[in-house]
């Protein structure tokens, strides 16, 4: 917080640390996109800068929202998003193909993106309404599973495995923090651990091959493992200091696929090395820590759960993407927020941060007695 006589109060009261971090990450992303385009602001960097500025303004504007307003909007927004998901499904059915977005006039809406913050808010709101004594009862569990399961299923059949995993993980995080019994989380993990070898044994040859390729991408360097193999080459060849700005051969010579979207981190790491990568990871860690602090300092159960869930959303974005590009997870198509080119990830993350800023402002302005 900046306190000065010259700066107007409303400006001074913005969470500047977070804004600096986010702007810093996004600027670095723009530099990487500039390089990925071969040293040009077109076609990516300029467009991304405009999109980012727009959503940053929206996020800052959202910071003036009251917690009660957020609460009031939670279920209607969740419901609307769910209806849009069903709409996408119906349109996809009519159009005979996979579809992820709704065309509403000039705007293309990806409802699954809205679902990430929406599910967090809905579950936080739900567990705020559940009395403490009821938390270990069945009736505190099944509505949450339904709230989470229905949209997750709709997204999975789109099909968009990456987003589905994200939504499930965000939802599960909120449920976990809400205090649901341990076994609810441990049992599925154990079940998967037991079932995986059996399932593997029953799989078809091509299915096994996919898993093998994930575990050892070099075994099929021209096929399914190509993305991961090339991404690892980009990161590994960057070394500690990187090859230098505009010097990445993997991205500039097109060996790295999706070098401006999902694999933007590899593009960055090739030119900026371990140092650039570590700084970026630490910057994201600082953003997430800021969000987690909001959760810890929250005075209401809703704010606690929502802030933690929204931070977790950012966390899952970053960690799934990075694990993917470093060959620790299969390629599921999760972008690196604020860095990857594309409006929807920026929108989701800025919505999350806007909500977080709003919750944080409540902690500072609303009295304890409220």
């Amino acid at each position: 917080m900046i306190t000065s006589a010259i700066i107007p109060r409303p400006l001074a009261r913005l969470p500047w640390r977070l804004i600096f971090l986010v702007v810093g990450i996004a600027t670095f992303g723009l530099i990487v996109l500039y390089s990925a385009a071969g040293g040009s602001v077109r076609p990516w960097a300029l467009k991304q800068a405009i999109v980012f500025s727009g959503f940053l303004s929206i996020a800052v504007a959202m910071s003036w929202m009251k917690e009660s307003t957020i609460k009031a909007f939670t279920f209607p927004v969740y419901g609307a998003t769910l209806i849009m998901l069903i709409g996408v499904e119906a349109m996809g059915f009519v159009g005979k193909g996979a579809q992820r977005w709704l065309d509403i006039g000039p705007i293309r809406l990806q409802p699954s993106e809205f679902m990430k913050p929406a599910i967090v808010l809905a579950l936080a709101r739900f567990y705020e309404l559940v009395p403490a004594a009821e938390i270990r009862k069945w009736r505190a569990i099944w509505p949450a599973i339904a709230l989470l399961g229905v949209p997750a299923f709709l997204i999975l059949v789109q099909p968009d495995l990456g987003t589905c995993i994200m939504v499930v993980l965000c939802g599960v995080t909120v449920m976990f923090l809400a205090g649901l019994p341990w076994w609810l989380f441990a049992a599925p993990v154990a079940a998967v651990a037991v079932a995986a070898p059996i399932a593997y044994g029953m799989m078809h040859g091509y299915q096994r091959k996919r898993i093998e390729v994930f575990l050892n991408p070099e075994s099929d360097p021209l096929g399914a493992g190509y993305h991961i193999a090339q991404s690892k080459i980009a990161i590994g060849s960057g070394g500690i200091w990187g090859k230098g700005f505009l010097q990445g051969s993997q991205s500039h010579l097109d060996y790295l696929p999706e070098g401006h979207t999902d694999f933007v981190f590899a593009t960055m790491a090739e030119e900026w090395g371990l140092v650039g990568g570590t700084i970026l990871i630490l910057a994201f860690a600082a953003v997430i820590r800021w969000g987690m602090r909001v959760s810890q300092n929250a005075r209401t159960r809703f704010a606690q759960l929502a802030a933690a869930g929204l931070s977790a959303t950012v966390f899952f974005y970053v960690s799934i993407n990075l694990m993917m590009v470093m060959g620790l997870a299969p390629v599921v198509g999760v972008p690196l927020p604020l860095v990857s080119f594309g409006g929807s990830a920026v929108m989701t993350v800025m919505l999350c941060l806007g909500l977080l800023m709003a919750l944080e402002r409540q902690q500072r302005t609303v009295s304890r007695l409220a």
């Binding site: 923090l177 010579l253 159960r301 470093m326």
Partner: protein
């Protein structure tokens, strides 16, 4: 378990605990990510740098120019001509685009080619280029080159292709070159050079055997390329080294002359230098055009070649086996002399000879024959009778010494060296005792006797030189002086004199005297019966005729050159083979006279060898088209 009421205090504690757990997990994941990145970028940096460099830099092997093959006088027999070609790299093709169709329009490919290209594209493994067209004109090459930016996956290159100025005349000597097949590629440990479009390796003959000398070492153009194979910039290149030039003992002019002199007949001719064993001519006719083979032979031409009853695809010099017929007689005479047969001893030829219960018929009633006249007039009766009073084992030994039944140390991919039968050989091979009729058959070069045309030249050369000459094809390497034949020089003189009489006395080949005042040729005719008549199927009278053979050396008094020649189904040796040897020998002493003798003959045959070959191919194409349409 005792039921505990869960209060908001509990909830608050649980939340803090779980937040700590969550935070811990997040820190762990962050640590894992940074650790993983450090592992990739630091511990494995070298490996990935290498991989990235492998991605970025591609070594485009620059194929070396194939070494020339030149004749003994330095005249080129196999050279390289610059050529233009177009290929497709299947990996770099854009999906859903008919590049083949566009190319077909651009360089006027025919349907056969388009079909072949599509088939090869479907079968290709991505990295291996598919040849679209070879040896195209500069205009077509330029037409493709200017459109290259819009034709991803298409490659137009300027290279070199093998050219044999003498065409079919050197076909069986040199063989031909061609694109390496999968087996050859595997055999060389997947040498990347072999899959460069347009790179050819020796497939037959000397081109195959001399491959290590002729190939040279590839250079490399190091280039930076994008993943789509687009060239970004050129890095420092590595120059290639052309293959070595190989000099042969062959006399290009003689080779060509002999090939043309053979006309449309099927046969082989080998000429040797009596002084050192150098092979001056190595001719097997008819032959394919090695130039069409090197460019990839058309289906029609291949069909024509393989259906021809003169078997143009067979190297008759090294792989054709024939009964020697009477050309064995000088060697027999020497063997008899060595075993103490008096050259003055006389045998009366009444037109045949009775051995056991079989009567062997001679060509004529020769009357009283001594060794000289028996060779001169090719009297079988004399050799039957004398063969029976000598030791067949010793006789065969002498004939072997002179070359029959021997394999020579020559750079040929395959060499069939035939049979010179002896009692020991017969016992081993057919488990039976040597009989009188075996001696009889052998002494006139029939029965089990099988020779190749090289032996047919080595024999007169050794007789003429009195030395164990070894035939040579390569000029390189030290010449070892040949040891003398283990024979009395007086005996050799008798045989040589008899051979001189064959041509210049009252012998069987007097019609083939050299048209030269100062040089006389010595020789021996041979007519070999074709035993297995049905072997090549029913092919009319031609295939039923005897093979005509002739061996010769000249000058008769001071031999310098020796020639052996066989004309398949040529009939009587003196009529078919001897004139060819005469003219070829003439060429060695007086080229003008030799060309003068050939000119009227070629007119009579209907043009030069090249013209006749072209006409034959056109006629065949016309017939097969007509048959195809019918």
């Amino acid at each position: 378990m005792k039921h505990v009421r869960f209060t908001s205090a509990h909830q608050s504690i649980a939340f803090s605990r779980r937040m700590m757990l969550l935070g811990g997990a997040q820190v762990a994941v962050g640590g894992l990510l940074i650790g993983r990145m450090g592992w990739l970028a630091v511990a494995q940096n070298e490996k990935y740098q290498l991989l990235s460099e492998n991605n970025r830099v591609q070594l485009i092997p620059v194929p070396p120019r194939r070494g020339w093959i030149i004749d003994r006088n330095g005249k080129p027999i196999a050279i390289n001509r610059s050529s233009f070609r177009v290929d497709i790299i299947p990996q770099q093709l854009e999906k859903g685009r008919d590049v083949v169709g566009e190319l077909a329009r651009l360089i006027a490919l025919n349907e056969d080619d388009v079909e072949r290209i599509r088939r090869e594209l479907a079968e290709s493994r991505g990295f291996q280029p598919v040849s679209v067209a070879d040896n195209i004109t500069y205009e077509k090459y330029a037409a493709v080159t200017v459109r290259l930016p819009d034709l991803p996956g298409v490659q137009a290159t300027r290279g070199f292709s093998r050219y044999y100025p003498d065409g079919p005349a050197v076909a069986h000597l040199l063989g031909y070159v061609g694109t390496a097949n999968a087996k050859e590629y595997e055999a060389e440990d997947k040498n990347p050079l072999l899959i460069i479009p347009g790179f050819k390796i020796g497939k037959q003959g000397l081109e195959k055997v001399l491959e290590p000398y002729l190939r040279g070492t590839p250079g490399g153009q190091r280039v930076e390329v994008t993943a789509r194979g687009k060239l970004v910039k050129e890095l420092d290149p590595k120059p290639d080294r052309s293959g070595q030039t190989v000099q042969l003992t062959i006399d290009q002019g003689l080779q060509q002359y002999a090939a043309r002199r053979m006309g449309d007949q099927s046969g082989a001719l080998v000429a040797m230098d009596v002084a050192n064993g150098d092979m001056l001519a190595f001719v097997s006719m008819p032959a394919f055009d090695p130039n069409s083979f090197s460019e990839g032979i058309g289906r029609t031409e291949w069909k024509m070649l393989s259906e021809d009853d003169h078997i143009p695809l067979l190297n008759k010099v090294s792989q054709g086996l024939y009964p020697s017929g009477s050309t064995i007689k000088p060697a027999m005479a020497l063997a008899f002399l060595q075993q103490g047969v008096d050259p003055k001893r006389r045998v009366v030829c009444n037109g045949g000879y009775q051995i056991g219960n079989r009567y062997f018929r001679c060509d004529a009633v020769h009357g009283s024959m001594d060794m000289h006249s028996a060779v001169e007039r090719s009297c079988n009766t004399y050799f039957w009778a004398t063969g029976l009073i000598t030791d067949p084992e010793k006789t065969t030994e002498m004939v072997n010494t002179l070359g029959y039944g021997q394999e020579f140390d020559l750079p040929l991919p395959t060499q069939r060296f035939g049979t010179m039968p002896s009692p020991k050989w017969l016992e081993k091979k057919y488990h039976r005792k040597w009989q009188g009729y075996d001696s009889a058959n052998t002494s006139i070069g029939q029965g089990y006797v099988l020779i190749n045309p090289m032996q047919l030249a080595v024999m007169p050369a050794r007789l003429a030189a009195g030395k164990l000459l070894q035939p040579r094809l390569l000029m390189t390497g030290a010449r070892k002086p040949a040891p003398d034949i283990d024979a009395d020089p007086a005996h050799l003189a008798i045989v040589r004199a008899a051979m001189a009489a064959v041509v210049n006395g009252s012998g069987t080949a007097v019609a083939s005297k050299l048209p030269l005042d100062s040089v006389q040729m010595a020789g021996k005719t041979g007519t070999a019966q074709v035993f297995r008549l049905g072997e090549r199927g029913h092919q009319g009278a031609w295939a039923l005729r005897d093979h005509a053979l002739f061996i010769a050396f000249a000058p008769a008094d001071k031999p310098r050159y020796a020639i052996g020649c066989i004309i398949e189904h040529g009939g009587f040796g003196a009529s078919a083979a001897a004139p060819i040897v005469r003219d070829t020998m003439t060429y060695l002493f007086d080229q003008q006279k030799a060309w003068a003798a050939l000119e009227p003959l070629e007119k009579q045959w209907g043009g030069s060898l090249a013209e006749r070959n072209a006409r034959q191919l056109d006629a065949f194409k016309a017939t097969s088209r007509a048959n195809g349409q019918a």
